[in-house]
Symmetry: C2
Subunit: 353 residues, 2 copies
């Protein structure tokens, strides 16, 4: 049986709602709002540790008034938010000081070049906060999940399906089959104790209830939190585009092109990303050269709207759930509202059988 997430996150209500650690979009205010609402808030993965420090400071400040924590700390003295890191892009040595200073409750690792990089990161993190900081690892296949379990035994394993927005495995299944197959394979390999969290295509309560049915204890929502008041937006047009985009499977696309617009793709080979179909993508499909696409992209970035918008050229990451995202609310209201509605969906299911 998987360890109950409730034991690992005693302030959190069931089912666990987590925001994706979206680099640059999910800052300290967003993470604190999700945690305060009984979820698990994450600060997104960035490259600049000074910027991360500022976001952690914001989270601590926002949590200082929360009645659930004493001086914004858990009983173990941890800051009850998580922090995302991209092992392929950041050196663990650079990350450790900020972890040591802030003692975040959780660290979320994603997109290591080699699985053994996760091992190195997990060991260093665990050594830094006496094993108290939980290690979450997100991956996107059954075999990767089992290998990560064997190498790192993460406290939480996030399984990301192909519907997810932003970066993920170029090739993969949706959570409809990924979750149950991975759960079985992990149990067979002796790792049935690791709690699973589902990511990819979940934007509201029905998706949450489905994820629970598939074997997850909690869910990650990314796109839905892009439409929160606390999301850090490069331009309002981006958020408006998220609200306007419908039919998520048709209006988004997974491609490596988005990582090639500002220069060579720095992401590990197995990864690409899903975003809203933009003029950049349409030009690519119509055969425009990468050189010309890059030139037009650079020009668009210089416009007042920074190139965002449905007719724009600059990437707007979003998952297939984008068509279910219709309004901007506070992140805490999103987390609590989706959670409560998911409970109603589960209750209602019994009448359907």
């Amino acid at each position: 049986m998987p360890t109950s997430l409730h034991l690992l996150l005693p302030w959190a209500a069931k089912p666990l709602i987590t925001n994706a650690p979206m680099g640059f979009f999910a800052g300290g205010s967003l993470a604190a709002a999700v945690t305060s609402a009984g979820g698990m808030g994450f600060i997104g993965a960035v490259y600049d540790m000074a910027a991360l420090d500022r976001e952690l400071s914001k989270a601590a400040s926002a949590l200082s008034t929360s009645p659930n924590f004493e001086n914004s700390r858990t009983k173990e003295g941890l800051l009850p938010v998580g922090v995302g890191f991209l092992p392929f892009a950041v050196k663990v040595e650079d990350a450790l000081p900020v972890i040591e200073k802030w003692r975040p409750h959780s660290v979320w690792l994603f997109a290591a070049r080699e699985h053994s990089d996760y091992t190195a990161w997990a060991e260093r993190i665990r050594a830094t906060t006496e094993g108290k900081t939980l290690v979450w690892i997100q991956t996107g296949s059954v075999s990767a999940g089992v290998e990560v379990a064997r190498l790192v035994h993460p406290d939480v394993l996030v399984l990301q399906g192909s519907d997810a927005g932003g970066h993920g495995f170029e090739k993969g299944a949706g959570i409809i089959s990924l979750l149950p197959e991975a759960a079985d394979a992990l149990a067979d390999a002796g790792f049935g104790d690791i709690p699973l969290v589902a990511a990819g295509g979940i934007a509201e309560a029905r998706g949450v209830a489905a994820a629970l049915a598939l074997g997850a204890q909690g869910v990650v929502m990314g796109t839905r939190f892009l439409a929160s008041k606390e999301a850090i937006m490069p331009h309002p047009v981006y958020q408006e585009a998220i609200l306007e985009t419908l039919d998520g499977g048709q209006s988004t696309v997974r491609t490596k092109l988005f990582d090639n617009l500002s220069g060579p793709n720095v992401w590990p080979e197995a990864y690409d990303g899903r975003g809203v179909v933009t003029q950049t993508w349409r030009d690519h499909v119509n055969g425009m050269s990468l050189e010309e696409i890059r030139k037009l992209h650079k020009e668009a970035e210089g416009r007042e709207d920074k190139g965002y918008g449905l007719n724009g050229r600059v990437t707007m990451w979003a998952g297939t759930g984008v068509g279910l995202v219709r309004e901007v609310k506070g992140a805490g209201e999103v987390a609590a509202g989706v959670r409560e509605e998911a409970r109603r969906v589960v209750e209602g299911l019994r009448t359907g059988i």
Copy 2:
């Protein structure tokens, strides 16, 4: 509120389990077994109406001993199985005589070149059996679902996600977001009465429970029924490969290549298909010309194993749920077993919240 499928299929138990109308693989024995087990059995779409007639005859014969039906007929005098048709490949004039002769309970339409072709088919079918034969239409996007509802108002709308095996929309979401977004859009457009059935990536009980949470009243399973005793297999190696294939998101691929192996692709532009990764696909990725791929494919077809198998070259259709398919059982046992287990999953969910 959607019409209850229970009203449309009075012999069926909740939640409804349906086999995909897999051309050549799902014959009369499979369809009858699924119906007899309280599900909805479909005979797959084929090009030869004489072959279809033979499969319908098999179904009628198998159902003649079923205590749920009098002389293998429903109260309305229909044969309680469904038949799949591909409007792009078969003329409605050729299909009507077999529909008139056998009066199947349901017809499943999929892959029309234009949505208006569904309208023509539905009208002719409804005229042939006095509106008694139900029209099911399967499609793969929110906008297509709404358009089909507007044009045809099918009795059942099947929403197929990107995890599905065999043919489907080249581009699309998994059911995790497709189902809830389509359900909302259909309700907003005044078609909330149409019952929804989910297809794509569902191979066992957890996927069924998830589909119910997402707003479906029933599910379609394809790959799972390939591993049934009644499935018509071109060679035993195909079925063995289905059982052996793991990590469905990695070991299957969606591509138009599979439709180009025996000559020009005859499928409508929006469609491709998902199958197990074969040597054909690996050669394609490594840059082999289509001409050479076709030559090797043709040679492989002439071998004893007809070119099937994990190191083979001939296409083995399968969805991402293939890794969850571990054994061959009778199709009725599959339908009833998955249904009962799904009920247990739903009951168990309540403890998770």
